[in-house]
């Protein structure tokens, strides 16, 4: 599959050169790339899911390595892996249910598996039950699961294999079906990513009231749609936009807001503290949301969050589900950050002779980070496409989207 290889290489290149930026764009590109990877992947008769997962993982590792700061790539890869696992699980159980096999089946890749004790169960229910193994046990699963947990030990993990071998007639259709279902699921994911703005924007009216003063920084499509949705619902409010030096994304946002007819005021980044006392709400778009509820956003966000905390102004983060990252951050200000060119800050010609190029010769260093980390205690609310959530709840939300096995790729 040279074409897939070249596609991957091209995308990796783009990521490396930062040709594609922004979590939405990268997420979309990634998931489309993964779709073609999956569709071109020739699956063996046995263990197709494992083959798909391996292929996706291999590509995913390359992509993540290309731009480790763009967490959306990793998120999407994990999401796709999760889809494969789920589809595989539901297919096997469905097949078993269809064959009326009383033999307990198992997912190949989930070591902590769970037998199926109810043969008449529909595939969806089984899949849901299987999914629950990925989660911490709920009261219901605890109650229902107790008799089965005893049966688990004696079910062989190769049950599915032997079964698929024995049913060679179903095999090819099963294979095709898995791939088809996975691609179906990936398509759904694509739709979800591109539709997350609308999903989030729908909730705008519940959060923005009349005559509100909203502060935002950075340029985020989600924020733009969110504000415009409220505007369309006849809410009138004012927006302060911090310009977001040195990239001046705020100018871009202000331009679009003005084009949509919102009352917009551009302020300097340094005036954030001065203005925050007259602001009712800070709304920002996240670059990524970590599992602990911390937010990685455009540079300057932490300052705004601290100021908002000081003045008890709600700090609201909008994030599509592809931005939810299942990792817990360690020293994210440094490790999940990216330093951009000093030329954005200083005129290169003037200071070039004294710049420190890493050799330790010059006396001037220029720091130009791209992202900022906001610890969870400064965030009041997350608004995702599934609704509003507390920062402390994010880990749980994230568990819905990812398999525990994929956290480390």
């Amino acid at each position: 599959m040279p074409d897939v290889q070249s596609m991957v290489a091209e995308f990796v290149n783009k990521l490396r050169k930062r040709k594609i930026e922004g979590s939405q764009a990268t997420a979309k590109c990634t998931v489309e790339l993964l779709r073609s990877v999956i569709s071109h992947q020739r699956v063996p008769h046995a263990n197709q899911a494992a083959a798909l997962i391996d292929a996706v993982k291999a590509v995913g590792q390359q992509l993540v390595a290309a731009n480790p700061v763009e967490l959306a790539v990793g998120n999407v890869v994990r999401r796709v892996l999760h889809i494969i696992r789920e589809e595989d699980l539901s297919l096997t159980t469905a097949a078993m249910a269809g064959l009326d096999l009383l033999d307990a089946s198992d997912d190949d890749d989930i070591d902590n598996c769970k037998g199926i004790g109810y043969p008449a169960m529909s595939a969806a229910v089984v899949a849901a039950a299987a999914r629950s193994t990925l989660r911490p046990p709920s009261l219901q699963t605890l109650l229902e699961g107790t008799p089965e947990s005893a049966t688990v030990p004696y079910t062989s993990s190769s049950g599915a294999d032997s079964e698929s071998k024995s049913k060679s007639a179903d095999k090819s259709s099963l294979t095709r079906k898995l791939k088809h279902d996975v691609i179906e699921g990936v398509n759904q994911l694509i739709q979800e990513i591109s539709g997350c703005h609308e999903q989030i924007a729908e909730q705008a009216i519940e959060h923005i009231h009349q005559n509100e003063v909203i502060l935002t920084l950075g340029s985020s499509r989600t924020v733009l749609e969110f504000l415009c949705a409220a505007k369309e619902k006849k809410r009138s409010f004012r927006v302060f936009v911090a310009e977001g030096a040195p990239r001046y994304q705020g100018h871009l946002l202000a331009k679009e807001l003005v084009a949509r007819g919102l009352q917009t005021t551009v302020i300097t980044d340094s005036a954030v503290f001065a203005m925050i006392s007259r602001v009712n709400m800070v709304i920002i778009g996240a670059h990524a949301v970590m599992a602990n509820g911390g937010v990685i956003g455009p540079v300057g966000v932490n300052m705004a969050a601290l100021a908002a905390k000081k003045h008890a102004v709600p700090f609201v983060v909008l994030a599509g589900s592809h931005k939810l990252c299942p990792l817990y951050p360690h020293n994210p200000e440094v490790l999940l950050n990216e330093l951009r060119s000093p030329s954005e800050l200083l005129d290169f010609g003037e200071f070039s002779d004294c710049l420190d190029f890493g050799a330790g010769s010059g006396s001037l260093q220029v720091v130009n980070p791209t992202f900022d980390y906001v610890p969870p205690n400064l965030v009041s609310l997350f608004i995702t496409d599934t609704g509003g959530h507390n920062p402390s709840y994010m880990y749980r939300l994230i568990a819905d989207y990812y398999s525990a096995d994929d956290l480390v790729m």
């Binding site: 004012r238 302060f240 310009e243 977001g244 030096a245 040195p246 001046y248 100018h251 871009l252 202000a254 331009k255 807001l257 003005v258 007819g261 919102l262 009352q263 917009t264 005021t265 551009v266 302020i267 300097t268 980044d269 340094s270 005036a271 954030v272 503290f273 001065a274 203005m275 006392s277 007259r278 540079v299 300057g300 932490n302 300052m303 601290l306 100021a307 000081k310 200000e333 440094v334 950050n337 000093p342 954005e344 800050l345 200083l346 005129d347 003037e350 200071f351 004294c354 006396s363 001037l364 260093q365 220029v366 720091v367 130009n368 980070p369 900022d372 980390y373």
Partner: protein
């Protein structure tokens, strides 16, 4: 002298009260508030005044909201004189504006258009004032002139007042005042008299001519003529008393009396959302600023001008602004164009200009140096305000200068007084600004240790001196220079530090949380420290201090004590300065950032360029000042002590 005048300071408010409360008291004083209160009359006074001020040779402005000290009138020996003074003082004695509401003139009530007058500072103000109704009518629309007879009527009513009362009330003062005036009485009297007659006649004529319409010409003419008659004999003494009283008033400021403290309390600043007053202020203004159209709703109370439009206009007007001293003019233009910025630089430039003023000053005949110079300084100050709103430190410096002028002993000759003033100003610059910086540097350097990573924001002069001195002491440290748009002053500091070989890191304010990890101390400058511990400084300082305190990094604010002010402020919105909004939409040196190019006139889009912000005191670990290193809670103590010292020195 001192001891004799001081009691008057205490008496003064009483006299004023009399005017408001009792009718049996000398009516001459009661006419004053009356005129202020009755609408048509005060309207006429205020309406006529701004146009008048452009014409009137008095050289003294009138601020319509001012209540002139009623004592003026009561000091007349004859009722008729009182009448004349009553008519005139409503209009004329705006030179008292500063003695009344003094010392932090930021344009609210005090903008005095003295410089509108056409080069006739020399003329004494009172005779002119007596002719003012006439001139007012002349320049006024006919409709407004209807109210003039009313004012004339009040004067008439005053004229019927029993002579004894007024005399009694003011006799003592007059005596003392006359003693104070060392100049020969006779000669002055005749001169003034002649002028008074002339002016009054001219005024009467003009008045008669001007309003044939609404006002019966006979009445107005007769009123005018009566007032002229009244004025004739009255003039000299009135004028002299006025001068003397002015001296008394200004002198009183020196003593830390009860009233003085009241005056010291910062008076409400000009609120630019108050339309009527803005209109009035505009009429008085020299610098024709065009108001920005697209303003931020929250900041309507602050002046917002379009930048760059006034400069050529002002340059062209140079020769018309006769009474403006060239040194002041130069400084004003430098403020306007932004050539001088930074609290200390602005303050020193202003003080040096005032030194020039003092040097070239000569007391006009029949004027008192104390009073005239105060008026002059006031008019210069209001010019400077028009160029750029004063900083708090400049307000303090102006207060000092005026204090010195007011406290000049009357016995000094002009040259002595001038020399004393000049040396006072020189001393202020040397002690309070330059000397204070040295002390601050000495204190602050003890806080810098080897291996420190110091963060500073913008380009504070005091901090720069500290860093350079520490470098000279061979301390090993690194400096993080944090900068922000649109001024990018940090680059200037960076350039200077690098030239000296200090190793620096440069970044912008958004990245402050990224670099705060490595910082060991934050050094900040301040435009002013307010008495609730709030540090009023370059916008962004609050952000830096906040992030620093969030990262548990000590924040040291370096500020000279002359910048301390007893005002309090909780936010950065009530009082601030707005910069050029266009500086935000255009990113200097980044042509690729042009998203907002065509949108500057869009009604939905505003640009807010704040100049200052207020840092709450809880973010500040220590304030380094020339009185030592103090916590922000000690600021009011220093304010009190410093004020005492600065009044006594």
């Amino acid at each position: 002298m001192e001891s004799r005048r001081n009691p008057r300071a205490v008496v003064d408010p009483k006299v004023r009260q009399v005017g408001f409360f009792t009718s049996s008291q000398p009516e001459s004083s009661s006419t004053q508030p009356h005129q202020q209160q009755t609408d048509p009359i005060s309207a006429s006074a205020s309406a006529s005044s701004p146009p008048v001020s452009t014409i009137s040779p008095s050289g003294n402005s009138l601020s319509p909201v001012m209540i002139p000290p009623p004592r003026l009138n009561s000091s007349d020996t004859f009722p008729l004189r009182g009448a004349a003074a009553g008519a005139s003082s409503a209009v004329s004695p705006s030179s008292f504006s500063y003695s009344n509401r003094r010392d932090f003139p930021d344009g609210s009530t005090t903008a005095s258009p003295g410089r509108h007058s056409r080069g006739s500072f020399v003329k004494s103000s009172t005779p002119v004032a007596s002719s003012l109704p006439g001139i007012g009518m002349d320049s006024m629309a006919a409709a407004k002139s209807s109210s003039v007879p009313a004012s004339g009527l009040t004067t008439v009513s005053v004229a019927t007042m029993p002579p004894g009362l007024a005399e009694k009330a003011s006799g003592m003062e007059v005596q003392s005042d006359q003693k104070k005036n060392s100049k020969p009485l006779k000669e002055k009297t005749t001169k003034a008299e002649r002028r008074a007659i002339q002016e009054a006649q001219r005024a009467a004529k003009a008045a008669a001519k001007a309003d044939g319409g609404k006002v019966p010409p006979g009445t107005s003419a007769s009123v005018a003529s009566t007032s002229v008659k009244a004025a004739k004999p009255a003039k000299p003494s009135t004028q002299k008393n006025e001068v003397a009283v002015a001296a008394g008033v200004t002198e009183k400021k020196g003593g830390p009396s009860e009233k003085d403290r009241k005056k010291d309390a910062p008076h409400p600043r000009m609120q630019y959302d108050d339309e009527s007053r803005v209109v009035k202020a505009k009429r008085r203004a020299v610098v024709k600023q065009t108001e920005a159209k697209n303003r931020v709703e929250l900041f309507r109370h602050l002046p917002q001008y379009e930048h760059g439009t006034q400069l050529p206009d002002l340059e062209a007007k140079f020769f018309q602004l006769d009474p403006m001293h060239p040194a002041v003019y130069k400084v004003g233009l430098q403020y306007l164009s932004g050539d001088i910025s930074g609290g200390n630089a602005r303050c020193i430039a202003m003080l040096q200009a005032f030194q020039e003023v003092v040097k070239d000053y000569s007391t006009p005949p029949e004027k008192n140096l104390n009073r005239d110079m105060t008026a002059k300084i006031s008019s210069y100050v209001s010019f400077l305000i028009e160029c750029r709103p004063l900083s708090i430190s400049m307000g303090n410096a102006i207060r000092f200068v005026k204090n010195r002028i007011a406290k000049l002993p009357i016995t000094l000759s002009e040259s002595e007084a001038k020399a004393a003033l000049q040396s006072d100003i020189e001393r202020f610059i040397n002690d309070k600004i330059i000397g204070a910086d040295m002390v601050i540097v000495k204190h602050a350097v003890t806080k810098i240790r080897d291996g420190d990573v110091l963060l500073t924001y913008g380009s504070p002069t005091a901090v720069e001196m500290i860093l350079l001195h520490a470098h000279e002491l061979k301390k090993k440290f690194r400096v993080l220079v944090v900068d922000s748009r649109p001024k990018l002053e940090g680059q200037l500091l960076l350039r200077r530090l690098i030239k000296r070989g200090i190793s620096c890191t440069y970044t912008h304010i958004n990245a402050i949380s990224y670099i705060m990890h490595e910082v060991t101390k934050v050094f900040l400058g301040a435009s002013s420290v307010l008495s609730n511990g709030t540090v009023y400084s370059r916008v962004g300082t609050a952000c830096v201090a906040m992030v620093a305190s969030a990262f548990r990094v000590p924040v040291l604010v370096c500020c000279e004590a002359y910048k301390f002010h007893e005002r309090v402020q909780l936010d950065s919105i009530c009082s601030n300065e707005l910069g050029d909004p266009n500086a935000i939409s255009k990113v200097h040196g980044r042509e690729d950032i042009n998203y907002l190019d065509g949108l500057t006139n869009n009604a939905n889009l505003q640009f807010l360029n704040l100049m200052y912000d207020a840092t709450p005191s809880d973010y500040i670990s220590m304030i380094i000042t020339d009185y030592g290193m103090v916590p922000p809670t000690s600021v009011p103590v220093i304010v009190r002590e410093y004020q005492k010292e600065h009044l006594l020195v």
